[in-house]
Symmetry: C2
Subunit: 699 residues, 2 copies
């Protein structure tokens, strides 16, 4: 079968193999290494299946082959089920036999320490030489419900029937493919593909996903992530999926410190900060959900749609039960999504349609009871009302036994231009299935419903960052070329920031024994200038509020003496003098090349409390000014810069511009900057000014 | 039937009436006002049912009576189903006929505005005169599954069978009683009683709950709350339930501003701050959950148990799937519950039992597969291990089709002395039912599981506050008696705080024209002294860092001139002079008599950022020093006072003492203080000192 597209050859070998081999399959269909044969037969794989077992004539009643070399026809996909020490030889056999893809069950590789990692690398070398591609190791298998191919050892596939569907699951946790199947089935939610990617030694989520973006049986991708591996493949996957109009929804471990730690220990992967990974997923247009069930329920909100066009997050609510809708609204409030009251015009139209809406924040149809004609009329009005970006319909007890009353009208509007989320207050499996069958996003809990709506509004197509100007680029390169060593000192750092267009406080580097005339007035601040001393204040290297030349001279001398005593080995370039800058607040602006997701820019309030509250916003760098403004809106502490309680407001436009400018470090050729921090950036009423900073280079 | 206990007569009339009347019942069993007759018959009420309808000979095929006066026997409980304008007359008829309890369906009372409120008050007057007790108005009914009595208009009771159980539901949202029934049924979770309390014009959650605390068919109470009405009854209910060993679990609307607003508009109730209500529920030993499903799933964690004895929140995790357990652990991390690694001794015991636990934070049994003998052995070791306060068992795919492997061993330990929470990763209804039947807390989602565990650890039996000493009491009363007016000025406020035992900065009130000698050294701070000026800084009424007598005199004069110009009507008592106090941080300490829940004490960092981050801890006042210390642990910003990054640590013992001392305002006879605030309380390394404050009295 010739490849039908870019991903075609790989997708065909993995999901539509002409023949399958089961290397080391057990005779006991109940054991992990015996299940794949049982499941392949049970769910009806149509092609040849070759059990490979050198010790047996037959396996589970079928003829077994001594080795891959003996099989009567070519094998596209082998599942290697042998124990860890035998895997290397099995991979070599696959490579020699011309197998195109091998999935490896065994664990004990990269996740188990240095020896396992070395073993994993050897598998990769063997495969690379022959064109063999690997899934795993530590993979519970590869499933295609349309082929059908249940090449998996996951016990959940003992289910009588495998529900076909249009969602592709890629999971770094093998057990979760079973969770998806098991939890989807009673909801009528089926899958097109399910892949346990394991350690991603060769094929990663990104590469497998990319190969599926043109799969005609897949409408959306669901990811269970513990980490991001193979970033470039991941980015390509997201770009192809976006281009194909197929949303990606991700559930990710690592909200809390212990979650991140467990994700690491579980997979041997490196896990970055939650905020950086979030920024990465967001930039790629991936919807991130926080609740397990949301990952099954949210796709219907996004399939066939584009990300919201504005930053407004306004929901119109129609309900047959005030208390039920309030549960969702309460949680939406926690996620900065607004339940918007209908406009006067919308009220007028509801009244004209005889929909008995009480005045209030929600369209409460309790008084009408659940009447399909009124429900439909009111829904149409909400769908058309310009004040709402999404419609939330909450259906009370009628959903359980009388779906025709209030659920059916929603299904009739399944393909409206505005997304509709539906929370069913009672246990109502039949109605949930009917919604799923019609492609309407139905939710079983108020928490998952609010989570999905928040994810929808966080769905993002980032505007491209303004390209850095050639002049700024040249100046920055010049500023960097004038330095040596990995750490720039404060003056060099400020010069780099200025090259990017960020105003910095004027600096004079002086020798206290021979003070030159200063180009700015007193009071001034004096700081020891040394790339070797990162905590100047702790070293006694900062003197504030100096009022005169005499004081400057005396305090600078004292300062240098103190610093030299504490850091006898530090190279000191002199004393840096700046005017005392005052403003409305101090901001920390940072740039970092994250090993997992790439360059990110961070902005937050300066100071200890902001650090304790983790109140900052992170984006992949570079960002546009518009995106930087969005970032500022996410930092709660910036309320103090917006004219809090009658205080004057700071220049947040200049602040956003500075964020975008710093983020341009990502655009420098060769990515020379590993880390840069402006701390503080002083925000004034009509400008911002960088007062101190540090830069670390990849040298 | 004679009353069998304190709550007996009321409970009997409500839940085990000798006869029921349905006033205004509709002939159409599908309409809201027709359902109660249908449901009573369907679910088998054994006593006489008297349909009352002046316009019909028969209703739904049964004989109807013209009025209550015509019924052949006495009626204990009437359900008034007539429209709002007819309710008053119906209540009067009930009162005249000697009915003991009437439940009222109609809405349009207190929740609908002043006219409705007046109408509701009239109902109450009519009832009070006769001994008739009311449920509602706006009540969907009263259900007892054991009697059985399905006196309800909630459509969910159309279910074929009403599952009896041992949980009593009291709900301020009528539709939610149906939600509980509908969602409990597939889980095997049934109820003893379900009451829609409506507007609580007469009988409140507290009074009905209190009447059920000795119900032999009830093990625990589930509350759906929008507000707290009838505080004293609520407190009595909680005390009786605690004494009876019957936990109360509450789900409450109002996490977010919009949730609070909707709770108000929905019920006409007043809703206090989330933190104050939380403090109230906590003090009463009520478990508060955040997720809807948790309210059904959490009771099994608490029934038959007492609140945790220590503040430690340590969970031991055993799992057959690392990824599944990580989902719960990740969310526990967000709720400050620690997933604790097993001790060396526990490892030794696991090894001796041949339980194949990998080293790590959780006991991961993946390698063993799901083996009942090993599961049981490992569970026993965790239950006995002193490092864990609760055991979380996470069961993977075997839970769906092979409950005997890993779920059954947990059921065998249902009555162990340590609480066990069980999260089932797949869809596994049979196993969930088996857990519910055995009284084990089983969870369907990782989020609800973590929510319940956090609620369990937040379950609290408050140590009694140390009683205020007679001397402190006398001094405080004397301090108050020396004042007049509702607002105390700064000096009077500080005197009151000192009377409670809180150190205050020394004060001198001076006339700038005739400066006396000061009993403390310069530098000092001068502040205008006036109860009429609450924002002294804004009025130009504060001068900091005054270095000499001359400066004090000059700046005080200037200050008074500025304040008099801005506040010509303010009564000014002079200039208050204090030494400049410096410390490690500034704390805000507040006391307030909350109209809904009573006196509360609040502590948090001072300053704008702490206010923006809402970083404070609230408790019902008074609190003991131990409880105050617990409060300090909840304020994230206090990290800055605990020796943050090598800085010296503040005297948090003195701070906790000050919190407890201020909270004693609640113990003053006659509760004269409405509000008191110390802002700032300066925290030093070996003491705390109140520098400014304000007190508002009920005068």
């Amino acid at each position: 079968m010739p490849p039908t597209s870019a991903g075609g050859a790989l997708a065909q070998a993995l999901f539509r193999p002409r023949a399958v081999a089961l290397v080391g399959v057990s005779d006991d269909a109940g054991r992990t290494a015996g299940r794949p044969l049982h499941f392949l037969r049970k769910h009806g794989f149509a092609g040849p299946i070759y059990p490979i077992n050198p010790n047996r004539e037959s396996v589970q009643g079928e003829r077994a082959y001594k080795s891959l070399a003996e099989t009567p026809g070519p094998v596209d996909h082998a599942y290697i089920l042998v124990n860890t020490p035998l895997v290397e030889a099995a991979v070599a056999d696959c490579a020699a036999a011309g197998v195109r893809a091998a999935t490896i069950l065994a664990s004990g590789f990269a996740e188990a320490g240095p020896e396992g990692l070395a073993l994993q690398r050897r598998l990769l070398e063997i495969a690379r030489g022959s064109g063999l591609r690997l899934v795993g190791p530590n993979s519970l298998g590869v499933v295609d419900t349309h082929t059908p191919l249940a090449l998996t050892a996951n016990a959940a596939f003992a289910a009588e029937r495998l529900l076909a569907g249009r969602l592709a699951v890629l999971s770094q946790s093998g057990s979760q493919i079973g969770t998806f199947v098991s939890r989807g089935a009673p909801r009528g939610i089926g899958f097109s593909k399910l892949v346990s990617v394991g350690n991603e030694a060769d094929l990663s989520v990104g590469e497998i996903g990319a190969a599926l973006t043109d799969d005609p049986e897949t409408d959306a991708f669901l990811l269970f992530l513990e980490t991001i591996r193979e970033r470039e493949h991941f980015i390509r996957f997201a770009a192809l999926a976006n281009a194909a109009g197929k949303p990606i929804i991700a559930y990710r471990l690592g909200l809390s410190d212990v979650g991140r730690e467990l994700a690491v220990s579980h997979t041997g992967a490196m896990v970055g900060s939650d905020a950086a990974v979030d920024a990465f997923l967001r930039r790629l247009g991936i919807l991130r959900v926080d609740h397990l069930e949301t990952v099954l329920e949210a796709p219907a909100l996004a399939i066939g749609r584009k990300p919201p066009e504005t930053a407004r997050r306004s929901v119109g609510v129609i309900t047959t039960t005030g208390g039920g809708a309030a549960m969702v609204a309460d949680r939406l409030g926690l996620r900065s999504v607004e339940v918007t009251p209908p406009s006067a015009e919308t009220y007028r139209r509801l009244k004209a349609a005889k929909a008995p809406a009480l005045p209030g924040r929600m369209i409460d149809m309790t008084l009408a009871g659940a009447r399909p004609d009124l429900m439909l009329a009111a829904l149409d009005i909400l769908i058309e009302a310009p004040e709402f970006d999404l419609v939330l319909a909450v259906v009370g007890s009628s959903a359980q036994f009388h779906g025709e009353l209030a659920v059916k009208p929603i299904i009739d509007r399944a393909h409206s231009r505005k997304p509709i989320a539906v929370f069913l207050v009672p246990h109502a499996e039949v109605s949930l299935r009917a919604l799923a069958d019609s492609g309407v996003a139905g939710f079983r809990t108020p928490e998952a419903c609010a989570d999905a709506i928040a994810a929808y509004f966080g769905w993002h197509r980032a505007p491209p960052a303004e390209p850095i100007s050639d002049a700024a680029l040249d100046t920055a390169i010049t500023a960097l070329s004038a330095t040596s060593g990995a750490l720039l000192d404060e003056r060099q750092s400020l010069a780099l920031f200025e090259a990017l267009g960020i105003s910095a406080a004027p600096c004079e580097v002086v020798d206290p024994e021979r003070l030159p005339p200063l180009p700015f007035a007193f009071p001034v601040v004096a700081k020891v200038l040394s790339a070797d001393i990162t905590h100047k204040t702790d070293a006694g290297g900062v003197a504030l509020g100096i009022g005169s030349r005499e004081e400057l001279s005396a305090r600078s001398r004292a300062m240098l003496a103190s610093v030299r005593a504490k850091h006898p080995d530090a190279s000191i370039s002199g004393v840096l003098v700046q005017p005392m800058e005052r403003g409305l607040g101090e901001v920390l602006l940072g740039y970092r090349s994250d090993p997992q997701v790439g360059p990110v820019v961070t902005v937050g309030m300066g100071g200890t409390l902001a650090e304790i509250y983790r109140d900052f916003s992170v984006r992949l760098a570079p960002v546009s000014v518009a995106e930087a403004e969005e970032m500022l809106g996410e930092v709660r502490g910036f309320a103090t810069l917006r004219g809090y309680r009658g205080a004057p407001a700071g220049d947040l436009t200049a602040l956003a511009r500075a964020v975008a400018q710093l983020s341009q470090l990502a655009a420098l050729p060769g990515s020379p900057v590993l880390e840069a921090e402006i701390n503080p950036l002083i925000v004034k009423t009509t400008s911002v000014v960088a007062v101190d900073g540090v830069v670390r280079l990849a040298r």
